[in-house]
Amino acid sequence: MSILQDANREQISRRRKIDWILHILFIAATAVGILALMALLVNIMMDGLSRLSPDLFTNYPSRMASKAGLKSAIVGSIYMVLIMTPISFILGVGAAIYLEEYANKNWLTRLIQLNISTLAGVPSIVYGILGLTIFVRGMHLERSLLSGALTMTLLVLPIIIVSAQEALRAVPRQRRDASFALGATRWQTVSGSVLPSAMPGIMTGVILALSRAIGETAPLVMIGALTFVAFLPNGIMDSFTVMPIQIFNWISRPQEAFHELAAAGIILLLGLLLIMNFAAILLRNKYSKNL
């Protein structure tokens, strides 16, 4: 009997030991991701902080690293987002309203839904090829701000639609019933009751989608956003550059000085994204209190 007990005790202590070792291992694995993020941030700060100056905002790109700045790229990014926002908002939220509030559960609805989730997984560079073919060449919009904004709109639409659908789904049924009971039409119900209550959630999704667009490089390389733009775009048909493209251009140069500039540009870009994400979190918190 005592031999059996000893064997049992030994087995238990061995299993406890394995549990302890794995616990440490799992913590270590989790730490890998966090450490990588910290290394990335520290690396960029150390390279770029010294080049972060007002010149970065006021100078155009230049062949000399000491004179180069991000002015046209910052303005280009802002213009692109300004064009994108209304188009992607109307198309994305419209599609979400259709799918959640209007569509019958038939094969067409299922097809659209499946299609949206598939589109979310298409590599961004393929959207670039699409934009190059349809907007730049097919519609003769050339390498303009409008081509870039339309391409990016298609890229972020699946993200906006899915998050808007979730926001609409979170609106309680009773809200719709109450509106119908007052005699409102379906559109009056949607526009007057459902949409306002889902709006914070929708805005959160839209902001996150736009922040994705601000950081995206590959599709704009494809449609030919220029890397050397020494002027500000005057209209939607002007050629343009954006922050990630300019950063990419600086990284591709062998000189150390341009790498420091790139790091400074990255700090600006990450700062902008941080602000947008913070706004999204604030909206989300407000939203969850309302429900």
């Binding site: 913590i27 989790t30 590599p123 090829i129």
Partner: protein, 309 residues
């Protein structure tokens, strides 16, 4: 509160406000058109890729494209075998997955089964920040931090190499694996865990023998999605992996991926309609088909092997 004034229960003829009536009738059509944009986008992608690719295969035999072992479309003697680009992409993807899947899965197990709620609430969003960092930033990180680190260990590593790009792509997809896997594990009912604990199982036994098998479909689906994401990743490889398409198994050498090639061509000035221009579409088509099939596979795995409780 305009709608409150409408009279309830009466047929649509009694709408006093004509605008309300027209809006109510017209809106569904407009909203449907918004939803149809997604279908049109897919058709657009398939059509543009297909039409140019078919054109390309009229000039270059499809067999040479798929099985050719030499990719040199810009410099004579020209040759259009995609295998070197495919092997470059696969090398990056496999390095990334070898790194990200174990780390992501272990993080998911830690967050779901071990971590106190307070730790989880902080760590999970921090890991998800990794997914929001623009890929061009990762490219910079690979080139200026990871590559020099590798060169300390292996001094004869090239400035551009597959290992550095692969590891950084791996870092990028960690949150995909960890977040989606953790969601799948959280969906496993508490009663299963409590049953195992009641039988005297330790935490790792509960995690590895109960929770992971129960959440297996979600875990596999997250891994497939991460794999597909790594294949389509562009800027990291364009910056850090190099631009020399070759069939090699040495991760310390400079290579080129499918996405990297497309970027290289579009940076240059290739005349519209030439064979070189057609290569973008042929390579893009290959990329689209591979990622599309993987995404379908991920959805199928998630649905087909889901354990319902």
């Amino acid at each position: 509160m305009n709608q409150a004034k409408e009279r309830p229960g009466i047929t649509s003829i009694s709408f006093k406000n004509k605008k309300t009536y027209i809006l109510d009738r017209a809106m569904p059509l407009f909203l449907f058109l918004c939803a149809a944009v997604s279908i049109v986008t897919t058709i657009g992608i398939v059509y543009t890729l297909l039409s140019e690719t078919v054109d390309f295969f009229r000039k270059i035999p499809i067999f040479d494209f798929i099985f050719g072992t030499n990719w040199s479309p810009l410099i004579a003697p020209k040759s259009f075998g995609i295998l070197p680009l495919l092997s470059g992409t696969m090398m990056i993807t496999i390095i990334a997955c070898l790194f990200a899947i174990p780390v992501g899965l272990a993080s998911a197990i830690y967050l779901s089964e071990y971590a106190p709620t307070r730790v989880r609430k902080i760590v999970k969003p921090v890991l998800e920040v990794l997914a929001g960092v623009p890929t061009i930033v990762y490219g910079y990180f690979a080139l200026t931090f990871v590559t020099p680190l590798i060169r300390i260990i292996f001094p004869d590593t090239g400035v551009f190499n597959a290992l550095s790009a692969g590891i950084v792509v791996g870092i990028m997809i960690i949150p995909m694996v960890s977040s989606l896997s953790e969601d799948a594990m959280q969906a496993v009912p508490r009663s299963l865990r409590q049953g195992a604990y009641a039988l005297g199982a330790t935490r790792f036994e509960v995690a590895l023998k109960v929770v992971v098998p129960a959440a297996f479909s979600g875990i596999v689906s997250s891994a497939v999605l991460a794999f597909s994401r790594a294949i389509g990743e562009t800027m990291i490889v364009a910056v850090a992996a190099g631009a020399t398409p070759k069939l090699t198994f040495n991760p310390l050498e400079s290579i080129q991926t499918m996405t990297g090639y497309i970027v290289q061509v579009s940076l240059g000035d290739i005349p519209h309609g030439s064979i070189e221009y057609g290569t973008i579409y042929a390579v893009g088509m290959a990329l689209f088909v591979i990622t599309f099939l993987l995404n379908i596979l991920a959805q199928w795995v998630a649905r087909r092997f889901r354990e319902e409780y």
